[in-house]
Subunit: 305 residues, 2 copies
């Protein structure tokens, strides 16, 4: 079985940040990714708050990070996730999607989060038939159509702005009485004529074979109404991808995030975590920084071990 | 007196990272800088570990961050530091180097660190006459000459490599038995024929009107010897620039770093700190991330206040 110093699981900003730092410390690493490179950042239409890049698409930023990684002689193994982890005395045995096994002295979990599903009536049934969690992926299918965006944080708002460039009409629903996005977006929402409905709960996704509308409820008076849309995009929080952490018995908090110490190590010796999976600031810059910190801590851990 | 939401003191990665985030939250800010933009990062010959940039000079990276800040309608006030801070009931009164006063509801201290001085005989006397703390600034004066670099961490090593491109001979002195730099630099040191002396203490800087050499002591046997050099560059740790924190009475740890909570706030209400001044990971990516985190926390602080 191939033996490595560090298995990094996930290739968002945390995973790649860690890989860059680990390679510079000459650790023998592999980066496993069950899907495509880039994590949540790659799904962002634009990233405008990673210091140093005024405006860049999420995909471009993650491609630059991947280039950085490649320049150090490694790469992400795309489509090759980790199915199973077993802790042994001096490390971890990993079963990979592609069938091989790898022995890693340490593991960095950087699996991040996925956009949360609300579990509404119609939501799962119509997934891929008008229900989406990624405007960047599915937005272009809604050219000239009406869409709803659920969630008034930065993700919801920036994706609503993106969709307004192609959709004929965009509704933005926020559960709370106010949007919680960066204020610079507020005039843009007006300019794009996005219809913002605050204090509004989404109750149901309507449609038989494809989305035909949404049922929403005004939280002030409980009144329900139907709004015709062809698509619904959900940006209502994040679900930590913690199944591998649970497998090895790492402590998880009540929201499902992996608990880590000041060196990014979980409750399991040699099993580290960085980025959104730790429940820290869900920002690309922060995830990259936690990855860097974890890699330096792992280097120390291996040296002392 | 002009009133602003947030005064950011210092324009390294932490200060500018915070400014970018704060401006996106529509805070009224100013960024004060007693010297030139860029903090420690700007002094780095090359930055090769800020994820997304394979290799960039420190100055270029900080210029990109400044461009980012400018694109949001603000800028760094270079050469206009903060002389004095007085806490009042709802904020802070700042006396600026240029004479004005500003009232800021909150302050973010991002003054970072300066390279530590050892206080050796000859060190202060010959500062600017062969003694330097910035190879990037002063290196070109030593073309074809012999130089010593003190300190075998990443800073010392990368600066020794840089100096080797122009100096006729480079000595690298490390106090400990091993270098503590990223391992990828080790073969480069050999290739550049840098003479590495480990377990070696620097005892004195020699020279009357300018540096003529250094006296070093082998820690193994206490033997001293003189080595002829024309320049000495010190990279032996960092001294936190905490005088303003002391002025407002913020708690400082035993090494001089400002203590902060999980929101980057110091023990003084409304007085925050981010980056190297907090004693956290002295890395550009980490400083930028702490700046971002502080700005979001400050935005919340002002909203709740």
């Amino acid at each position: 079985m191939e033996e490595i110093d560090l298995a990094i699981i996930g290739s968002g900003a945390a995973g790649i940040g860690a890989a860059v730092y680990a390679l510079r410390r000459n650790l023998k690493i592999k980066v496993f990714e069950k899907e495509a490179v880039g994590g949540q950042t790659a799904k962002a239409v634009f990233v405008e708050n990673y210091p140093g890049f005024k405006k860049i698409t999420g995909l471009e930023l993650m491609q630059k990070m991947r280039d950085h990684l490649q320049s150090l002689g490694s790469d992400v193994e795309e489509g090759n996730g980790v199915k199973k982890i077993v802790k042994s005395k001096n490390g971890f045995e990993l079963d990979l999607d592609e069938g091989e096994k790898v022995f890693a002295k340490t593991v960095l979990l950087a699996t991040g989060t996925e956009n949360r599903h609300l579990g509404l009536k119609g939501e799962e049934e119509l997934y891929g038939k008008g229900v989406s969690y990624c405007a960047n992926c599915d937005g272009p299918f809604f050219k000239g159509k009406k869409v709803a965006v659920v969630g008034g944080g930065n993700s919801g708002v920036t994706n609503a702005l993106y969709l307004a460039e192609m959709a004929s009409k965009v509704f933005l629903f926020e559960f709370m009485p106010n949007l919680n996005c960066d204020e610079i977006y507020l005039p843009m929402l007006e300019k794009q004529k996005i219809e913002v409905m605050k204090n509004t709960q989404i109750a149901e996704v309507l449609g038989k074979y494809k989305v035909s509308g949404v049922k929403v409820k005004a939280r002030e008076n409980g009144k329900e109404k139907k709004i015709d849309v062809d698509g619904v995009f959900f940006y209502v929080g994040l679900t930590p991808q913690n199944s591998l952490a649970k497998q090895v018995g790492a402590e998880i908090d009540e929201k499902g995030f992996v608990k880590v110490d000041e060196n990014q190590m979980s409750s399991v010796n040699g099993f580290f975590a960085a980025g959104d999976i730790t429940g820290s600031l869900a920002q690309t810059i922060w995830a990259a920084a936690e990855g860097a910190k974890a890699a330096l801590a792992i280097h120390d851990f291996l040296r002392i071990k």
